[in-house]
């Protein structure tokens, strides 16, 4: 029942001091430039990192020439517009209860948000765990419960377990609308596109618990970019940044891990579970477009639980375009093309209480992080 001991602060300060020294000697593959203007650009892939960096005030401790760029690792932020619209259409049906993680509720689609649909009479239940959606289906046998299966390798096993539970208990009124995604194909996509200068990746802790840190080897080798896995404590993040800077200073690029919870090969049980239920498929990402083999869909054996097969879903093209969304730069934010404050809507038209884009809605979103922890007015 005490606050963190002061050694945390000292060691973090010491690590930051070393980062300041290292950055001066870093070579940048992505943006060679001359010494004075050169910046080291590190993309923190995961939304939880983005939030922890802002909450810990880490930018104020790091050199000005080192820029941390938010990446495509916030599940809500990368979820395609069409998916939100389909979820809202399902929620509006009298026979359907949509069960979802909280973040999704306020993301605006072209036809409003799930929260607005709920206010107008649609049934939308927030669950904290996928299995709770199965319980919900049991409690409402006369309704169909559709779980919005969103997230990366960290949340996908929970969806798989919920599906197993539904199958084993014979809960036939349960189904999932899947938009699960794989993080590494998106990272590769950004590097291959080449228009965003990224010198290195700070790789997500939780996802890497499942995948193992060796999973980043093809990125580190193929694109000559350091990939360092770190946890979510402040000390972990600065340790990860320090490891990246050390590699850059030495002119190396390797996969590396500073997070004790992560092993080289990851969690085999979880990997097997994912493979049992899902198969890779092309997926649409907000701001990044369709990336080959970057999503997960249900295997045929689980097809009965696919909401996309069970219900007739609306054609997204039939919905009107929303002019405000046209100015929303969430797609640029999650691909590192701009910072939240570079968007014309940020903190003006788009705020957490009245968000335009998903990066402002999600508690993992780069815009929400910048608004909550870094905005002075």
């Amino acid at each position: 029942m005490t606050s963190m001991v002061s050694t945390t602060r000292r060691s973090t300060a010491a690590i930051c001091e070393n980062i300041h020294k290292l950055v001066g000697t870093c070579s940048s593959a992505a943006s060679p430039g001359d010494g004075a203007t050169r910046r080291v650009r590190i993309m923190e892939v995961c939304g939880t990192h983005t939030m922890a960096i802002a909450r810990g005030g880490l930018r104020s401790l790091l050199p000005e020439t080192l820029r941390l760029i938010s990446g495509p690792g916030c599940p809500v932020c990368v979820t395609d517009q069409d998916y939100i619209d389909r979820a809202i259409a399902l929620a509006r049906r009298d026979d359907v209860i949509v069960a979802t993680y909280g973040d999704m509720v306020r993301v605006p689609g072209r036809g409003g948000s799930l929260a607005e649909a709920r206010a107008a009479g649609a049934t939308v239940e927030v669950v904290y765990a996928a299995e709770r959606a199965v319980d919900l289906a049991r409690c409402h046998p006369q309704r169909q419960v559709v779980f919005l299966a969103v997230g990366f390798e960290t949340t996908t096993p929970a969806t798989a377990l919920a599906l197993r539970k539904a199958r084993d208990a014979g809960v036939e009124n349960f189904s999932v609308l899947t938009a699960h995604k794989l993080i590494i194909p998106a990272m590769r996509h950004l590097l291959a596109a080449g228009d965003v200068p990224i010198d290195a990746f700070l790789c997500p802790g939780h996802v890497s618990v499942i995948l193992g840190w060796r999973a980043y080897e093809p990125l580190a080798d193929g694109f000559a970019r350091p990939c360092v896995v770190a946890g979510f404590e402040t000390a972990q993040i600065v340790l990860g940044v320090e490891a990246i800077c050390r590699q850059l200073a030495d002119g190396r690029a390797a996969e590396e891990n500073v997070y004790p919870a992560v092993t080289a090969d990851g969690n085999h049980t979880a990997q097997a579970l994912l493979d049992e239920v899902f198969r890779p498929a092309d997926a649409a990402w907000r701001g990044l477009g369709v990336i080959p083999a970057s999503g997960l869909v249900l295997r045929d054996a689980w097809g009965d639980f696919d909401a996309a097969g069970r219900f007739e879903l609306p054609d997204a093209d039939a919905l009107p375009d929303v002019p405000e969304l046209a100015h929303c730069r969430c797609g640029d934010v999650i691909s590192g093309r701009c910072r939240p404050r570079d968007c014309g809507l940020f903190a003006r038209r788009c705020t957490p209480s009245d968000p335009v884009g998903p990066c402002m809605v999600s508690s993992e979103g780069a815009c929400a992080a910048a608004f909550k922890y870094e905005r002075r007015s």
Binding site: S3, R55, G102, V105
Partner: protein, 342 residues
């Protein structure tokens, strides 16, 4: 009392009808739970003795589930209103208690939460002097809504308000943050925490009034950081005084289980609700004494000096030095804080 098919006593619509069943409910459940009284002597209003200026406050309580680790809606309804009086510098003197009950509520559950309310009132040294009971059809409310109104006597030594706050004043908190909000969420969602997490739900009146008794006008401002947590209270302080506020994260007392639950849900502990904590702004010279006074009571055992009021600013902000030694802004939380996905 009436039993239904499953042989469980439940509240029926007729219990709110004002007739014999209402009288039976009041006599057999409500009055005993709230510390006695004779139904035959109940009048339409109650007289309250108050010397000097009176303070009055009201609040309506809804919580799901009605009973949670560390408290229930009864404790909450009494403590919440008592706390609103106390942080205003008023000694609680009398409470009213109004109930809106959903038809079908288990009588035993109603009795338990009312007994909690009775205990909380006795602990705070305040009597429930009047009340009201309504029963509404199934679905019209979610089980139980409780309203309490409190009347208090403003302590002659209390000189509280934003105007009293000056540069250099210190911010003191009576204990760890976020326990109520996270205990309720953990219970609602079966988070499976490694350790018990109890709500801090309880009266801060002895803490608040103790500070006024001992420190007099060195106490400038007090608040109980309920919804919106410490973040909302600090931002209100900055806006109300027109001054920047500096917080030191390393000094803020934290319950490790609450911290773990907050991290699991992606919530900022600073924005999570408390129901038994006091935030006080005191003169710099009195800060250490204020902390010591709070720690004399079990509810204030982990009290700490956590921040400082700074100079006037055109757009005042709350800035926190983080554990890492970085700086970040603390904002007024917006509406409902939504748990994250992963």
């Amino acid at each position: 009392m009436t039993r239904d098919g499953d042989n469980v006593e439940r509240i029926q619509l007729a219990h709110g009808g004002g007739g014999r069943m209402t009288a039976e409910l009041i006599e057999s459940v409500i009055l005993p739970a709230l510390g006695g009284g004779d139904a035959a002597t109940l009048a339409d209003a109650a007289a309250v003795d108050v010397r000097g200026q009176a303070a009055m406050t009201t609040d309506t309580y809804v919580v799901q589930p009605l009973e949670f680790p560390g408290g229930d809606i009864g404790t909450l309804a009494v403590a919440g209103t008592v706390n609103d009086l106390a942080v205003f510098g008023a000694v609680p003197r009398a409470l009213s208690l109004g109930l809106v009950i959903e038809e079908g509520l288990e009588t035993a559950l109603l009795r338990r939460v009312l007994e909690s309310a009775g205990r909380a009132a006795a602990d705070a040294g305040v009597a429930v002097v009047t009340g009201d009971t309504k029963v509404v059809p199934r679905g019209a409310v979610d089980k139980l809504v409780v309203n309490t109104t409190g009347v208090g006597e403003i302590h002659p030594g209390a000189q509280l308000g934003f105007d009293a706050v000056g540069e250099g004043d210190k911010i003191v908190v009576s204990g760890a943050l976020g326990e109520h909000g996270l205990a309720v969420m953990a219970c609602r969602e079966a988070l499976g925490l490694s350790a018990e997490l109890d709500s801090d739900c309880g009266s801060v009146a002895p803490l608040a009034l103790g500070l006024i008794e001992r420190l007099g006008d060195a106490v400038r401002f007090m608040r109980d950081p309920t919804r919106g947590g410490l973040a909302a209270t600090a931002v209100e302080l900055a806006r109300g005084t027109g001054r920047d506020v500096a917080l030191d994260e390393a000094a803020i007392p934290v319950n490790p289980t609450a911290r773990a639950a907050a991290e699991m849900l992606g919530l900022d502990l600073l924005t999570v609700a408390n129901e038994g904590k006091l935030v006080a702004v005191v003169g710099a010279e009195a800060a250490e004494q204020a902390r010591a006074v709070l720690t004399e009571q079990p509810a204030g055992a982990h009290a700490a000096v956590i921040g400082t009021v700074r100079e006037r600013a055109e757009m005042p902000v709350v800035e926190m030095t983080t554990l890492a030694g970085g700086r970040r802004i603390v904002q007024m939380p917006y509406g409902e804080e939504l748990p994250r996905i992963c």
